[in-house]
Amino acid sequence: MKKFTSCSDLAKYRTEQKLAVSEVRVGLDTGGLAAGAGEILGIIKEGVAEADLPVVVRRTGSLGLAYADPVVVVKQEGGPELMYGEVDSGVAQRIVSDHLGKGELIQDHVIATRNRATEFDDRPTTAILIKDTGVNGGDRSKFFQASFEQEVEISTLDPKVPILRALDMGIYDEGLCVQLLPSGVTYSNVLSPDIRRIISESLQNGRVIDELLVKDPDPQVRIVLRRCGQVDPENLGDVLAHGGYAALESVLSGMSPDDVIEEMKTAGLRGRGGAGFPTWRKWKLTREVEADQRYVICNADEGDPGAFMDRSVLEGDPHAVLEGLILAAYSIGASKGYFYIRAEYPLAVARIRRAIQEARVAGLLGDNILGSGFSFDAKVRLGAGAFVCGEETALIASIEGKRGSPSPRPPYPSVRGLWGKPTSINNVETLAAVSPIIENGGEWYAGYGTEQSRGTKVFAVTGKVKNAQLVEIPMGVSIRTIVYDICGGVLDDEDIKAVQTGGPSGGVIPEKHLDTEISYESLSELGSIMGSGGMLVMDEYDSMVDVARFYLKFSVEESCGKCAPCRVGGYQMQQLLDKIFRGRGKVEDLGSLRKICRAMQTASLCGLGQTAPNPVLSTLRYFEDEYQAFIEGGSAYARKMRKQLAEAGEQAG
């Protein structure tokens, strides 16, 4: 990579880049690699080389479809971009031989998206994707496939269009769904008599059947994740070709730090680490403090159980985070920055390190960036995995080489932070949202979300959900939409009991509140929090007492031990919960729990201790009957419940 010496230099390079016409992208993030994506990449590379196909094979990060890893995206000249999920070595070989070699798509592995194309282009339909999304009864895809094939057979179509069962179509509970490729026109609730109509009207006459078109749009909007799964995270050239550092380019060619802060204010972006403090205000406060040195820190100490949003962004698009950090530094007037990343994220660490290295070589980091006179450099600091080090002041202590314990605030890091200097600490997701805001304007970003909570938020949806995955949605979308319309609903179509948000600092939201529009305020009113974006789905078989125990145990183990309310309070609550769970609890124990909760919430030193009672309080609020059942049922009931939970665990695991 060459060194860019000016903004126009960079702009020129960007326009010269051409994106590959035909390519195969393999999602190589931690999840993909664990599922064997490394091997898949090897097979496809080798196969393409052997067959001498005019196709580029690239590594990318992940789209976040954890349930479908490994994921491979195939784009061929003239054809639609197709995604394959659950790719094993056999499927990988067929992608080369059948798809790339002969243009034949592969059965049962295509992942389509909820496409809202409403007309056909001039290309003929070359494949029909089908998926039975009905939740009642078995999967009738094969039956519908046979029906379709029969209709195609007897039609006058030539060539005969192949019918493919899709792995997923991003549509749920809307009966038989049909997507016509390459146009993407998608029909839902297709009934048997419709099949012939589709063949004759849509395929033969190129007419869209309006009443069958998918109604609701895909609620997802990818801003933070925009380049995850698109770009090679270890190739700056590819990132630049996909628009990387365009925001930096425009800022350095004419925006003052105050302009950037003003744009961020218009955007209304709030801290995505969970607390939701307005990002522009944090920057402004840090900027306003007189100092000879200021720092920016990227908080990449993601630690909530089940959360992998930040990891995916760091692994999928590290340059987006780095660009955000550079823009933050420019805005507050910092010349040095740190990525604080937990050592358990080795791939994220490696990719950020590489991104820093590449950016330095290219002149996007270091002295006199793009000839603008602005200088900034960043380093990586590894965290040892203590959850509390995600708390700002503990994080700073950790970078300084001290024991990772929080300190009282005020003084806030914006006034006295790292090495005593004004410091702005922003979460990975927050920083990744900065460059799209600068590129598209604050108003564009503020157009998403709710009045108080603007923009989009990434959630990691896990637990008893069909498609465990990352979702990025504008604020204001309901939890029910996420669970049912994006993630396909509850595993085995059981009834949902509650959704846990905010990890160990959050709480449970019962079924009756699932239609609540997601925002910082609404979740906190429900006794939970937005948090960093963990979302755990629980069904009727989950015990809320056990859920409270699980999260509390996490906080108790991760308490730094500095302040008495958290150190001892958490432990004593755990004792009480264990006692109740063993069937030995007394009614007074609930009073003791509430008493400790109150003391911890008010008298703990940092957010960890202040919020650690939330899982207990929220389960007590919505499911006190479950606690009462353990207390009244005694050890016999407790034994029964434990057995039931163990069995459910075996089934799930």
Binding site: K562, R567, Q575, K595, I596
Partner: protein, 587 residues
């Protein structure tokens, strides 16, 4: 610069305080004390205990009074039913991890946790008790750590790491397993501990206490074969009274002489006497080095055993700069077991010398090197801290408050004003300069100059340029171990650069305030107490007929009859020591 004033309301009372004042401090101004178990006047507040939460109108959160600066317009409630309940819960939680062993605890009756539990009227155990089985650390003869009594307030760790720059203590593990321990989980004896005892002086409970040796002394007093004598350190006289309800700084020298005799000591010596002796040797050393160029400068005082230990561990590039004169305690010990025994016809083997010190490190000094046995016997047999001595008096049933005055013995008992100010930071320097002036000029300092103000006071590092017969002497006084590095680094820098030395004479005391703030003094130390105790010593100095060590007739007598002259061969043998580099960690 005029400080901005903050106007706010606390419990309905208007307050106006300088910007930066915490809610805790502001509340004191309206006669309200917010409870705390971790905040200490000497230390930056850390907010560890959680007891001091208060309410601020319009805020859902409860800030900590100890760490939160008061802001304009704040409407603060420090006490109400809800706050009381929260504090009570926090206190119950802390008590649930603290053993119920008040009766057998070193802090019984003088414990911050016990006091608070009493005030809150805790009558039953709120939560199931959880005590870890961790054995106490008795490895270090000066202080004992009883880990299970630790409430993790963090004061000792702060003291050890920040105030004293030693870092022997740290926190290990996390969550409910968090514990204070010597860094690296080793024995205290193998750690960098310098035995200053500041951890014990700041501990709110009985987790760190002095190694109590009162029973050893009682046994010695009962032993008919032993001839028990005692020496009283300078700073003990202005602090002991606090244990009996006197104001800090009340000088009880004569009452202490009397009570020592009542306890059964056959002779009562005053360490102030040997402080004068130390000055004779040390001032001579200084004149030798400064005027005659015999030996390196700056000369650094060495009468604080915690400091010598620290120097031997961390700053041993300064070994040759140390005054080789023994500390007053050790000088008195050796004189008592040689000269005094000779004079009185006592077999030194039966002579048992007890020393009453403000200091826990003095317990370590007794056997620090072979030179501590210069008399042929252990020169001082046992050290009691001021707190232990107070305990002995209370056990004896003596009505200390109404006790008439007594006198010290006539040899090794009289002292000059210079000897008594040894107990205050800057005092050794001041005393040495008074005598050095005499040695150089042959005259005493004029009365108006004898109080050397620039070296007095509680500033961490005090620097001054003094004049003796046209010679400019640059001096520095540091107290609190963390202040020493700065001073020594200046010297190092000048040495490296080949520049003129920044100082000729440096006084160092490990404890802030000097010995009056020692680790063995009555509890409740802060700068106000330090100032009062220091004032007590300076008043003693002011009121002495003789203000200079060389004028002490008993000093003149021991040189005439026994030692010859300062730095004589005999003086060297009995009154001087050597130093060596020591490992910071023994493991």
């Amino acid at each position: 610069m005029i400080q901005r004033m903050i106007k706010a309301t606390i419990n309905g009372f208007a307050v106006s305080v300088p910007a930066g004042t915490t809610i805790y401090e502001a509340a004191l101004g309206v006669h309200t004390k917010v409870p705390t178990l971790c905040k200490h006047d000497d230390l930056d507040p850390t907010g560890a205990c959680g007891m001091c939460v208060v309410k601020v109108a319009g805020s859902g959160k409860m800030p900590r009074a100890c760490t939160t600066p008061i802001e304009d317009g704040m409407d603060i409630i420090t006490h109400d039913g809800e706050l009381n309940e929260i504090r009570r819960t926090v206190l119950e939680l802390i008590l649930s991890t603290h053993p119920n062993e008040c009766q057998t605890c070193g802090r019984n009756g003088d414990c911050e946790l016990q006091t608070l539990a009493g005030e809150f009227g805790i009558r039953e155990e709120g939560f199931k008790r959880m005590i870890k089985d961790i054995p106490s650390d008795h490895s270090n003869g000066s202080i004992v750590i009883d880990f299970v009594k630790c409430i993790k307030c963090g004061r000792c760790v702060q003291v050890c790491q920040e105030m004293q720059d030693v870092s022997a203590l740290s926190f290990l593990q996390r969550g409910i397993d968090t514990r204070m321990a010597p860094a690296g989980d080793i024995l205290l004896a193998d750690s960098p501990c310098i035995k200053c005892g500041q951890c014990a002086a700041h501990c709110p409970t009985g987790a760190i206490v002095e190694n109590d040796e009162t029973s050893t002394v009682w046994a010695a007093l009962r032993d008919p074969e032993k001839y028990c004598t005692v020496q009283i350190a300078p700073s003990v006289r202005v602090a002991l009274g606090e244990e009996f309800g006197y104001e800090p700084g009340t000088n009880l020298t004569k009452k202490i002489y009397q009570v020592a005799r009542r306890l059964g000591f056959k002779a009562v010596f005053d360490t102030n006497f040997s402080a004068d002796l130390t000055i004779m040797e040390e001032a001579t050393e200084f004149v030798q080095r400064f005027v005659h160029g015999k030996g390196p400068l700056p000369l650094i005082t060495s009468c604080c055993p915690a400091w010598t230990d620290y120097m031997e561990k961390y700053h041993h590039d300064f070994l040759d700069n140390f005054s080789t004169a023994k500390s007053p305690q050790q000088m008195l010990g050796v004189m008592a077991k040689t000269y005094y025994c000779e004079q009185m016809g006592i077999d030194p083997a039966t002579h048992y010398q007890v020393s009453i010190m403000p200091c826990t490190a003095k317990k370590y000094e007794l056997e620090r090197t072979d030179e501590m046995f210069a008399s042929g016997h252990q020169d001082v047999d046992v050290v009691l801290t001021t707190r232990e001595f107070a305990r002995m008096i209370k056990q004896s049933g003596i009505d200390f408050i109404n006790l008439p005055d007594g006198e010290s013995d006539s040899i090794l008992g009289d002292y000059s004003g210079a000897g008594t100010i040894f107990g205050a930071t800057g005092g050794v320097m001041e005393a040495a300069v008074r005598t050095a002036y005499y040695f150089v000029t042959g005259e005493n300092m004029p009365d108006e100059a004898i109080n050397i103000q620039p070296v007095r006071g509680l500033k961490g590092v005090k620097e001054a340029e003094l004049e003796i017969a046209g010679n400019k002497i640059r001096v520095a006084v540091a107290h609190g171990m963390a202040n020493v590095g700065k001073v020594l680094n200046r010297v190092r820098k000048a040495r490296e650069a080949g520049e003129e030395l920044p100082y000729h004479f440096i006084e160092v005391m490990a404890c802030p305030g000097g010995c009056i703030g020692g680790g063995g003094q009555p509890y409740g130390i802060n700068d106000e107490v330090r100032r009062k105790r220091i004032t007590g010593l300076y008043e003693d100095d002011r009121d002495r007929l003789l203000r200079c060590s060389h004028d002490n007739p008993e000093i003149q007598r021991v040189y005439a009859e026994f030692l010859g002259a300062p730095l004589s061969e005999r003086a060297h043998k009995l009154l001087h020591v050597t130093y060596k580099a020591r490992q910071v960690y023994l493991k």
